[in-house]
């Protein structure tokens, strides 16, 4: 089913992210049923050519993805110039082109102004923008008019090979998250012994400042450290897929929720986390502490909300695992 995976990957790339997995899972089920039907007729597995023929008949991935878009927008000037199937790609190409042009122009405007005396900079800047707009639009109008010829000439065997499935082994993103968590945990564990890690050269002044945490702080500190270490273990198992993706996400959400509870308790305790013989130093230290907890809390809430939403969506739709 290598060809089918390549086909689905090509369609998936062009689909809106929110509905991508759902649409691809449905396409997979439909195409597999069609292939099985054909195999029953032939009483043998399909050859690669026969699979390719089914996929070719199914339609060009660009057209298929365009038809799944619900905005149904197009470009019309009296008659329709660019239809809804190609319009999303037209919009994307135009945006990329115009953004690149604007960035380049922004860099060149001072030079152009110097050359021209500044008076006609705007008109000079508009020429490349209008040119880009016209060229991209003309290309897509031509493509739309010859859609049947251009987009029908495609071969499923020439589609890009399937990228490694993230559920098959370590991914760059998982490894990066694990390294960041490991460094963060190490930092939290070492900072009490080496305040330099937090304050840099300012740590030399700590003895004179006489900073003191409130008495219950050690209990909070050790809870945070234990939560971080547990998260590190969960992520380690996640990196090597010893823990299924869904379970790893649930564990992640639970640990973050526990962290949120700790952060809320800390905020309720605030703002007198530390005292010093210099009230101003204590004020700024407490303010920094509170801002850091608040920032972490916002990120953790967003992350837990996102995990809960994705788990709910998968459960609600009974989606099979991502397979392309």
């Amino acid at each position: 089913m290598n060809l089918l995976n390549r086909y689905l990957q090509a369609v998936a790339r062009l689909l809106p992210k929110a509905r991508r997995d759902d649409i691809v899972a449905e396409l997979r089920a439909n195409i597999l049923s069609q292939m099985e039907d054909r195999e029953e007729v032939f009483k043998r597995p399909l050859t690669e050519d026969e699979q390719a023929e089914i996929l070719r008949h199914h339609g060009n991935p660009t057209i298929i993805a365009g038809r799944y878009r619900e905005d149904n927008l197009g470009l019309a000037f009296g008659r329709q110039l660019i239809g809804p199937e190609l319009f999303p790609f037209y919009k994307m190409s135009l945006t990329v082109n115009l953004v690149i042009t604007v960035v380049i122009l922004a860099g060149l405007i001072p030079a152009i102004a110097q050359m021209t005396g500044g008076a006609i900079v705007l008109s000079r800047a508009l020429i490349p923008l209008v040119t880009q707009f016209v060229i991209v639009t003309l290309i897509f109008i031509a493509l739309e008019r010859n859609k049947a010829h251009v987009l029908d000439k495609w071969d499923p065997r020439k589609l890009p090979v399937v990228k490694a499935n993230p559920d098959d082994g370590p991914t760059a993103s998982n490894i990066f998250t694990f390294i960041i968590t490991a460094l963060g945990t190490l930092w939290v564990a070492l900072t009490p012994h080496w305040p330099y890690l937090l304050l840099g050269p300012g740590a030399l002044y700590l003895p004179q400042l006489e900073l003191k945490f409130w008495p219950q702080w050690p209990a909070f500190y050790w809870t945070i450290l234990v939560l971080l270490c547990t998260q590190l273990v969960v992520q380690f198992f996640g990196v090597f897929r010893w823990l299924p993706s869904r379970k790893a996400r649930i564990a992640d959400a639970i640990l973050r929720t526990a962290g949120i509870a700790v952060a809320v308790l800390l905020l309720l305790k605030g703002p007198n986390y530390v005292t010093s013989k210099y009230p101003e130093v204590a004020y700024w230290a407490n303010l920094n502490f509170e801002v850091c907890i608040g920032g972490w809390l916002a990120i953790a809430l967003w992350r837990v909300g996102w995990i809960a939403f994705s788990l709910f969506r998968e459960r609600h739709q009974m989606l099979p695992a991502r397979q392309y």
């Binding site: 089920a29 439909n30 049923s33 038809r67 619900e70 989606l319």
Partner: protein, 112 residues
């Protein structure tokens, strides 16, 4: 578009009929592939690239409901007519019959 005027008019004529046919066929539950086969068995061939996105669109419009269910060891998305879909189908069928009768009367008077 490079299609002939006939092809354009034929596609236009088919477009509305396809929606009606899909809604009517989905009085019984189907997933995409079996729906396409059922329509083809009744003489209405429809491309996959047209049918599957159409199902999504009709669902978004509230005319169909769907659910993922396992069948033959594979998850499939099954569609059927929603409550609103049944009402709309009834209205569309009335419209279809009325138009058919009118067209019959007109065609009786005109030699093609």
């Amino acid at each position: 578009m490079n299609e002939s005027p006939f092809e354009n008019l034929r596609l236009e004529l088919r477009r509305g009929c396809l929606v009606l046919a899909v809604l009517a066929q989905l009085r019984a539950e189907h997933y995409g592939y079996t729906l396409r086969k059922a329509l083809a068995d009744d003489g209405l061939e429809i491309e996959e690239s047209t049918l599957y996105p159409l199902l999504r669109r009709l669902e978004t419009q509230g005319l169909l409901v769907s659910e993922w269910r396992e069948e033959d060891k594979r998850n499939k998305r099954f569609y059927r007519l929603s409550k609103d879909g049944k009402v709309i189908l009834k209205q569309l069928l009335e419209e279809w019959r009325s138009m058919g009768e009118s067209l019959d009367r007109i065609l009786r008077e005109v030699k093609v």
